[in-house]
Symmetry: D3
Subunit: 327 residues, 6 copies
């Protein structure tokens, strides 16, 4: 089971110039063979199918726990796509007989507007849907770990190329973050293989050769040590991570470290309505009024939209709880 | 973001007689168009793509929160499949030149043994992979809710038919539980539509006509009121659920209720190794020994495998924390 | 546009022993690459996309008119599958907690029961959905006709093999009919190529070598000359068929002939309810009662179920009307 | 079975400025999940698989009859795409070594030119083929009707967005018509659900909120009452439609009405040849000459191309026949 | 089994102006339904599955031998795509934080840059992967030959349209060559059908009507008689080709001829590195240095890159060997 | 380009008891994600797309050369499937009205009989077609090699499981051979990574843990050193293999070695006709007679069917030629 937090893993800039072509490219990081949906579901299915987990718990914990972080990554990619699409049609009505989508005819992925509501779709940059056949869960621990190391390698390749293709601030913030975090997962699986078999993969790093030290959008995360930290994404479980995630970072030589609890993250950004594509339908004010009445009837105060400090305080408390857990 | 708990939503019986044909059928509930992967990813993507969420928060909270419970459902279906496949090949070695898989030649889904490691695959009962095109996220709140109501209706249909086809105890425990919980989600989306538009869908219930009151495996869950309860699957968020999930159950007339925190659930059952399919490879004892050394090196005590009481105590504490949250 | 007749192209025997394995095989004739859905949609799309049709009208008429007959063929295949599945679960209730589908676990195509309601699915014998990529509509008349000749050739191959695999009376009635009618279409496209280019394809017949004269289920249709007749499936249009469909049958040497109007056909057979799979849901009596009240309210007499004579009289009148049409 | 009419459901303007990007978008209405191919095949398959139809005939008639109208809709969408592609390559030869397709390199859907002959393809706006997995035919009447109501809702969403994206006169004529007719089908399924279960869906309308009254291209059809009329698309059958399609239109309060016979429609427009893509191959004059000789040999007068009055007279006679039918 | 030669079937011009839109179009000739991957795998699978080949050897030899030539065609198409993509990103580094792919955002097939390394992908012009369902291998010799004739017809259609769309010198060199060679295969299958059944397909030529005599890029190959020659692509086998590939060319009246050995071909062109997409990763100099050390250690002299004369001498010797073979 | 040899890589036993269920399983080794079609096309596409190959030639040679051997592997798997299907329908006619396929109704993969002619299909054990999306060709040499190492690892897993499932002599001969040869390729890619990066993967072997020393069907090949030999599959090229394929075998400690020329192999076995499925159509005697006349007309002696000694002499001569090549 999971608990969900209404926060995203890192802050994204507010919507700016819409970039539907860029959004099409970023879809590769969501629904591509090496996108976040693939990392999420590979590790998730491997954790479900893990046999004899009691004797292999440090490895089980690693796979199951990284799966949990990946959920935050599909969220982040989806948010980035929404961000890049925002404003591509008018935000003040624009329904037919207006030709509000005429300007995006032949631009980017038409399905963003026709199938979706100017929102992320579970497909790759070609428009092909993500498929369950992207999952490898052989049950063989060495094979699964080898696969995961390779998957993260391919994923880093994709992230850098999306970075190079998309100058949109949201795409850059996204890829800067994912390059750092994906790097940790690549290292984690390499260490797991090393700890299990004795093979030394250190010399395979960096693979591919990504100059994270020269990429401005990676720096804030590197400064926070997020290139060498593994978050324990559970209030109570996956306590054996340090048995596998340990030793030195193969690129920097710094120590690898497990931190209790999720990243502090950032509030989920509000995306404005796009009425020309019915997102959401009804005038926003109507929905607001209905929601308001429903809240009142249920005796609920509206959730304040912007309280990063309080929110993050709550998250810290959650971390505290998790940190104190002893069996 | 999510936090993950190393517990499943409800207890499954231990592996008994293997049933690969049944396991093939249960795949429909994992990777079918109306399977749990579809409910998970539909609500997840809708929550990511929700525009103007501040004004429509009760509806956002509903969709986002049900998404979180669905993760526990794909987990449960996968576990059931693993359970039904356990023992279909020898659990004590059985590698070539033995013909350890000869007995399952032509039985059930060959991919369970050839592509997977006697484990769940992200595909339906035909062997077709789940696809991102199963997701509908139009951004139009009324349409999305209408879709979700229909999706849950189709899902209930599938669950009953799998119940009728599979007498395996794990399949029965699974479908008994899912029929009850899926019913809640169907009601939840109907109530959301009613609260938003004023349309009264009460007379559509039950759809399809499922005699849950006559199904023995549903009774324990009904007794615990799980047919009228919505779990708030977050330590801090989704507090506006009661604004939408309220009123009476259309079938029983009992009040609908929101409960803070996840179901108590059950520990994740240990599945024995299946060495003939390399799951996991290495002799289990070797892995155990390696893991043991790694733990020792990291100064970690082994996680005790069976501590339901303690575990559930922890979960209760988590609920407590969540229950006390005020903005 | 089309008008629809509530009759099928030829009579099928009433449901007898259920045969789910056979039904899986017959799916190849519905959703396979060479199934009736492919013939229907190839000719339909070619007719839609036909350029310069005024100058090439005899060829346009041929393609457009055969498309219309193919609709009756997908109908017939679907009806056959339903026929073969009927009774595979109890026809008197059988809902959970009964294990009404236990006997078909691992039998045939599980999707017939899990995804469908013991009914035909738009997929092939493997369970793969029919796809629009099965359509070839190049716009090049010679190429399209060459394709169609090849398509009918492959389709005949498939029909004979399904005949050999399935001894179920409905499957035999179906394939006996389709072998005869598909043969006409194969001849029609060969004649069209010959009339357009001068190439003589006569010596390619029969391809494949099918002994229609030895197949009992073909004889009634051959006796009615249905192996050398093309039905003009329109009350007013496609009058230039005889300009292309003419000459001698390449196998029998008999004259090819165009007949105004559709085959007399047979009434659509009533299939009994299969309540274990919710087909249809509600008890039949309840639906009957509701329908009865709705009819009464609308002042409509119930349609008598079995009036083949009258029906066929009506069809004859339709033929009459069509036969008298002059521009 | 069906009879085919060589007329389309409504007139389209003659080809004007080619618009390949627009044609790519319109493909969504042909081969998209919510396109006309989906409505056609969903209702067609549901009608084939209908069990116990005698007791539920009013509902059977509704589904079977709307299926028939949908054939006219895939035809109309295909014609629109052909219309929008016409002239994108030279209409006077243009074969290699000319670079006649250089101007459409990188424009719209390349498959329109490479796979097709500047004609419609059975795929969506992404280029993905329509698939049989888009069909839902559960056999459960309530579920199927719920699905159909949802499908029409999603289809209306898509139509309006294509309207907003494509200013091409053919696309506008198409969507103006389909918005009106699709609205009738949405109402029809809502009324069927209401008549069957008693649930009142009136307040769900309009869903999505489409301002048909403000869309100029809808007005001619609204004036002809086509927003509240159901055509009985059969010369003899589906006479129980009024038992289900009755009451008031949920948006306008006007009475719903069943009309015998198809829409008057319009002649199928002639599309000029596109020789650069071999559509059709041979010089048109050559084909004309061959056809002419074939006609002469068969003693057939050429079908006059443009006789809308006569044609529509014929259609009226057909309606007359159908209107007089009594069992 | 095969032996591989490090030569391509015909020379391509060196990379010039990059043309990603053109490269997307050329993909149709690699991974499209009528692309070279389809011809390769259709004939290959037919040759594997050939039953009773001893009695039908001339036909077996034809299919198996043409399969071998098709390998050289997928190679050539892939090389052309690489050629057209070369230089679309900087060839001197260009890694992030540079925006080296910004100029190709929204240009052509994004997957060329994101999924591949500016290289060919096994997909069609839409980005859909080639699929094994494109293979037809019925085992029926007449049907398979009919299919192959049709496949080559469709393939020629596609080649001409790609010619018309792409003015890039590499695309023109490719299509000029393939039009000539594909024409031979089309003739070969027509002759096989004629020799087997007696049907005369001569009048179907040319289909489609391609003016090869007017296409400058076809002339060098026609001058070398490559429009009427079949290469025997084996040092020892497929000696019965002349029993089927004989008679006159249906378009030119010249004699058809079998030549021992492969085309002389051309050296494989070196494509420069594209470091922005990690192709290949490491600086080229580093790889060069490593390779150099490895060669030295193994006592191997570097293979000289450009020795067309010597190379072709070797090929001639190979032909000589093959020509002298007697059983 | 390639030259083709009419020999298979290793001898298979003659057809014995038909085993359609086993044949379905063996399909995984042909069209599965880790089947031979995947290894063939991954290495083939990587070799086509190799940039800067002159400086990295030892690595290019390795990938290009292994690709060539893989062609022999898809051939061998296809032959095995044909072998296992032979005799499943009568070999002496059996056409309708006989029910010659009734015994295989519901047995194995129905498409083997309905879509194919009792022959191999390009699909996996589920019946899903092989897809071009199984190819990974990033252009990054380290990534591609890492992928290939992983691909071979997964392929070995699949091969052993097919061995365990299928006791049919042909399946056993196949998997015994492929386990040995696939092991060489796995080692080759590991060595390439080691030689390129310095990372030592030795301790990853064996992965998965396959007891080749205990598998009888592996022994003949091991005795011939085929577990440590790389064949140079070219008469003239890929001479730099020893620069990469060198050092010791990680499992046995024996030296790795490059051999000039292909394996000696075995003649292609004749498969008897299966007339019930039209494979090939016409009575075999008819075809024999036609072929005989065609040969006579062309002045060709029939190729003797069984001359392994002579044949292998020819192959040795080819090796001789290749061995003498100097630039």
């Amino acid at each position: 089971m999971i608990l969900r937090l209404d926060r995203i893993a890192t802050a994204l800039p507010p919507p700016s110039e819409p970039d539907p072509e860029g959004a099409r490219a970023v879809q590769e990081l969501l629904g591509g063979k090496f996108g976040e949906m693939s990392t999420l579901m590979n590790y998730t299915m491997q954790s479900f199918n893990f046999r004899n987990r009691s004797v292999a718990r440090p490895f089980y914990d690693l796979v199951a726990n990284i799966a949990a972080e990946e959920f935050g990554h599909i969220e982040l990619v989806a948010m980035t796509i929404n961000n890049m699409l925002t404003g591509a049609s008018p935000t003040d009505d624009g329904k037919a007989p207006l030709a509000s989508l005429a300007e995006v005819k032949g631009v980017g992925q038409p399905a963003h507007f026709l199938q979706g509501g100017q929102g992320a779709l579970l497909q790759d940059s070609r428009g092909l849907p993500w498929t369950g056949d992207n999952v490898f869960a052989s049950g063989d621990l060495v094979e699964d770990l080898t696969h995961n190391f390779f998957l993260e390698t391919g994923a880093r390749n994709n992230k850098l190329k999306v970075y190079e293709m998309c100058e949109h601030p949201a795409a850059r913030a996204l890829t800067g973050y994912l390059l750092v975090r994906g790097g940790v997962h690549q290292v984690a699986y390499a260490r797991a293989i090393e700890n299990l078999t004795g093979a030394d993969l250190t010399k395979l790093f960096p693979s591919p050769r990504i100059p994270t030290d020269k990429i401005p959008e990676c720096q804030p995360h590197i400064k926070k040590n997020e290139h060498r930290i593994l978050y324990r994404m559970s209030p109570f479980d996956y306590n054996e991570l340090p048995a596998v995630f340990n030793g030195m970072h193969p690129e920097t030589g710094e120590p690898l470290e497990v931190i209790d609890g999720p990243p502090e993250g950032a509030p989920v950004a509000e995306m404005p309505a796009q009425p020309a594509v019915f997102a959401p339908d009804y005038a926003p004010e109507e929905i607001a009024e209905i929601a308001s009445k429903l809240r009142a009837k249920a005796g609920i105060e509206a959730t304040p939209e912007e309280m990063p400090a309080v929110k993050s305080g709550l998250v810290n408390r959650a971390k505290g709880v998790a940190g104190k857990v002893t069996p």
